[in-house]
């Protein structure tokens, strides 16, 4: 009998030693942040906690854009998978870095967030942004040798509108071919940024090649991009190789789309810790937009370079606008809550210090963000004030529900908020639901009192239109609110002319005062690469201004 127990203990001891063995060894790799920075390239963790405006993007801008085509092959890890390469797609995963290699677009955002012509030679508007004349290059050809004319572009836009996968194409009123290489695009509105989004969302594809494909480019693509996709395993990997017969001169290309590397392989790894492991094992040279908890373990690691930049969207809390919610019409309560939330605590608790506070509902990355806002106070943490405001409010012990998606960051953020609310004696529960359920109830303000979201459209106008326009949804705005005063102010910013600093400021002030939404925290973006890869200049660009590996310079 004693032997039985002994056997059990033996086994237990074995497992325990395996566990501690792994854990202990693992510890060596990730050292605590905030130590001395080894090199200038590494960002130190503690500094990030300061509300410093300047981002931690490393200084590599001095290196001149290169035109040298190297024979380098790079392996990149990225966390969002796609199941198909088809050009007609929903917005899901559309900011993934591999799209830069997969398809050419009419225009592309460069590293300074300015729209540069790419397949398009130029575009201009005749009437305040409702009608555009677009001219494309006359030398474009795809990897199968098909010449691209304006007809192909017109076909693509019409097809996209018909398939209704991306809402932006609903704003196309009509598109007509006006010459071999020119077309005219009529829009239904002239909101700031609409044309830019369309330019980024039109993939240049030959209609003939597309129709010849058996699965609508689902598994193999013929495109005009400088790269051809040589291998694609759905949800696992995509490989690209530089074309020899690319139609454009390298010097004419914006820096961020130059095909400097011969081969670029993407490994699509959704499990965050696995991205880190792939970096460690050398499976990948670089991981783009890696999760904070994984990225932070490479800080102060001499074998890796950590590139930190400000988050693109940030996290917000929106208060319900439905009359059933105590927060809907109670400014004092909302303000109290905003005062009661410590941004520094969120930075530490949510992102281990790798985040910045916010100064508006939208992140500074959004086009239209006014840098001056960073000098204003934005509900700086003040528990006394919060409690005083709460006492003045109509809050009467109701339980407030915080809705969040069940993604790791969102649900942690919800728990942190709950903690702050409880600290100021507000009863509070978290409703953390899967993404689909979240999507379906987030517009219905009766289902929650506060909803956590990460909203990051191209421009402030876009953000406001999807969040605060009471005419946008059947229930009102995105939280079932009907605030027509705010709508007035928002509508003013919706034209090209109206998107002025003054009008924008008015909305900003209104949102801040009414506190119907509050920017919580903006986690920094981690991109990590191994020193061994020899990267000498990181070039960023495209929709989310991620590092574009094909355009980076390596030694």
């Amino acid at each position: 009998m004693r032997k039985k127990v002994l056997a059990l203990l033996l086994c237990a001891a074995m497992t325990a030693s395996v566990l501690t063995g792994c854990g202990g060894k693992a510890d060596n790799a990730g050292s605590t942040a905030g130590g001395e920075s080894g090199t200038t390239q590494e960002a130190s963790g503690t500094e990030q906690a300061e509300p410093a405006g300047e981002s931690a993007v490393q200084e590599t801008a001095q290196v001149e854009p290169s035109t040298t085509l190297s024979d380098k092959e790079v392996n990149i890890g990225y966390g969002t998978v796609i199941d198909s390469l088809t050009p007609f797609r929903a917005n899901v995963a559309n900011d993934s870095p591999y799209f830069v290699q997969l398809y050419e677009t009419l225009g592309v955002l460069d590293g300074n967030r300015e729209m540069q012509p790419y397949a398009a030679k130029s575009w201009e508007t005749s009437d305040d942004g409702f009608t555009y004349t677009i001219e494309i290059w006359d030398t474009i050809s795809d990897s199968a040798g098909n010449k691209i004319t304006a007809a192909d572009i017109v076909w693509f836009i019409e097809e996209s509108k018909a398939r209704a996968l991306k809402p932006i194409f609903a704003k196309v009123d009509s598109v007509t071919q006006t010459g071999d290489y020119t077309l005219e695009l009529k829009l239904t509105d002239n909101k700031f940024g609409t044309i830019d989004t369309i330019l980024m969302d039109v993939f240049v594809v030959s209609k003939a090649a597309f129709e010849a494909s058996s699965d609508e480019f689902g598994s193999s693509v013929v495109s005009t991009s400088p790269y051809v996709c040589t291998e694609f395993t759905a949800s696992a990997s995509i490989s690209f190789e530089r074309r020899d017969d690319y139609w454009q001169d390298i010097e004419n290309l914006p820096e961020c789309v130059r095909p400097l590397q011969k081969k670029v392989n993407y490994k699509l790894i959704t499990e965050a810790s696995q991205l880190g492991i792939a970096l460690e094992t050398g499976e990948i040279d670089m991981a783009i937009n890696i999760a904070t908890e994984t990225g932070s373990q490479f800080v102060d690691n001499d074998n890796f370079v950590v590139d930190l930049s400000d988050g693109r969207s940030g996290w917000q809390v929106f208060f319900s606008g439905a009359d059933t919610s105590p927060a809907a019409n109670d400014v004092k309560l909302r303000q109290a809550i905003c005062y009661g939330i410590d941004a520094q605590g969120l930075i530490a608790g949510l992102c281990s210090g790798y985040a910045t506070q916010m100064w508006d509902v939208c992140s500074p990355f959004t086009v239209g963000f006014n840098e001056n806002w960073k000098n204003e106070s934005y509900y700086d943490y003040d528990l006394e004030k919060a409690k005083a405001l709460l006492a003045e409010s109509d809050y009467n012990g109701e339980t407030l529900t915080i809705l969040s998606s069940s993604s790791a960051t969102a649900s942690r953020l919800a728990q942190l908020l709950q903690n702050y609310l409880v600290a100021m004696d507000i009863k509070c529960e978290v409703n953390s639901v899967d993404m689909a359920l979240y999507t379906s109830i987030r517009l219905d303000g009766t289902q929650y009192d506060m909803v956590i979201n990460t909203v990051g459209e191209y421009s402030l106008a876009d953000n406001w239109s999807i969040r605060f326009d009471p005419a946008a949804y059947a229930t009102g705005d995105a939280t079932s609110r009907h605030d027509y005063d705010l709508a007035e102010l928002i509508y003013k910013t919706w034209t090209l002319d109206g998107f002025t600093e003054e009008n924008i400021n008015e909305v900003h002030e209104y949102l801040k005062e009414s506190a119907i939404a509050y920017g919580l925290v903006n986690p920094q973006l981690f991109t990590v690469w191994s020193k061994a890869s020899g990267l000498s200049k990181a070039v960023t660009g495209a929709r989310r201004n991620y590092i574009v590996p094909s355009a980076c310079q390596f030694e």
């Binding site: 608790g349 728990q415 709950q418």
Partner: protein
């Protein structure tokens, strides 16, 4: 009059038999030191979970943002998690949720399984056919998938998680009970019960069921263990209980990205699950041996 007398007689007889059988099982079980170890572990865990508020110094949702990732110390026996919550307290409170999820889900499955299995197994024929074809269909869908779809339909939450877990456990229970019922159905003591005009209800639930229950007990014990790990799986996908409830699976799943830099976040809830599941399995094995005299030497 005579009938009731006989009934009473058989009842008292059976009661006597049942008790001595129970005593035999307990005696057998007591001899099996490993199974008893499993039982003791479970009892200790349940006591710890029940007394969690008196044992731990912190609430399970209490955050101390200055103590994020604190390593185990006297202040925090198991250290703190990513949001500065005391892991020791969370593991203690977590026992309440994890263990009760396992037990309640299996109890529901057992009750429903008994009803289906008993009815199908006893009546046989068309009734059995219909039930079994339905179970065929349900079992042809992989259990994990079924569980996920049900969770998605019901939404997250403690009770919904339990329902999702129990639904996918029902077919196995029902099938096993049915097989057992069919085996016992033709036995002589059932003939005897029929001959003295016992009602069908009484035959099924008073005579047949007690004789079919022992494999069910074993299966249920193991089922609790399996349910606890399945609940961890649900949390991994983002379904399961609501935060900040410290269900062990949810803790483990949320902390898995920190396994390299702060392994203690993962080790303690992981160990809690492992020890519980191990204990349940040891107990289950012991019960099986005790209930099945065939397996003795």
């Amino acid at each position: 009059m005579r009938n009731t007398m006989i009934n009473n007689l058989t009842k008292s007889n059976k009661k006597h038999k049942k008790q001595s059988e129970l005593q035999r099982v307990i005696k057998q079980l007591k001899k099996n030191k490993i199974a008893m170890l499993g039982l003791y572990i479970l009892i200790v865990e349940i006591i710890l979970a029940a007394l969690a508020p008196y044992i731990s110094r912190y609430g399970y949702a209490e955050m101390d943002l200055t103590a994020c990732f604190a390593t185990p110390s006297f202040k925090h026996f198991f250290g703190c998690d990513d949001m500065g919550r005391d892991i020791f307290s969370r593991v203690l409170y977590g026992g309440r949720y994890s263990i009760s999820i396992g037990i309640i889900a299996v109890l529901i499955a057992v009750v429903v399984g008994i009803c289906i299995g008993a009815v199908a197994g006893y009546f046989g024929g068309q009734v059995d056919n219909i039930f079994m074809r339905i179970l065929d269909v349900v079992q042809a869908i992989p259990g994990m998938l079924l569980m996920i779809v049900i969770s998605a339909v019901l939404g997250p939450g403690f009770m919904n998680t339990i329902i999702a877990l129990s639904v996918s456990t029902i077919p196995g229970m029902a099938r096993m009970l049915r097989a057992q019922m069919m085996k016992e159905r033709d036995s002589e003591y059932i003939e005897a019960a029929k001959s003295i005009n016992c009602s069908q209800f009484s035959i099924i639930f008073q005579h047949l069921l007690p004789n079919c229950i022992s494999p069910l007990i074993v299966q249920a014990t193991m089922g609790v263990a399996q349910t606890i790990t399945l609940a961890a799986g649900l949390s991994f996908i983002g379904l399961g209980v609501q935060p900040p409830l410290p269900e062990w699976g949810a803790m483990l799943s949320a902390a898995r990205s920190y396994i390299r830099q702060s392994p203690h976040l993962v080790i303690f809830p992981g160990l809690a699950i492992a020890v519980t599941v191990l204990a349940l399995n040891l107990l289950g094995d012991g019960l099986r041996d005790a209930l099945d005299p065939k397996l003795k030497n």
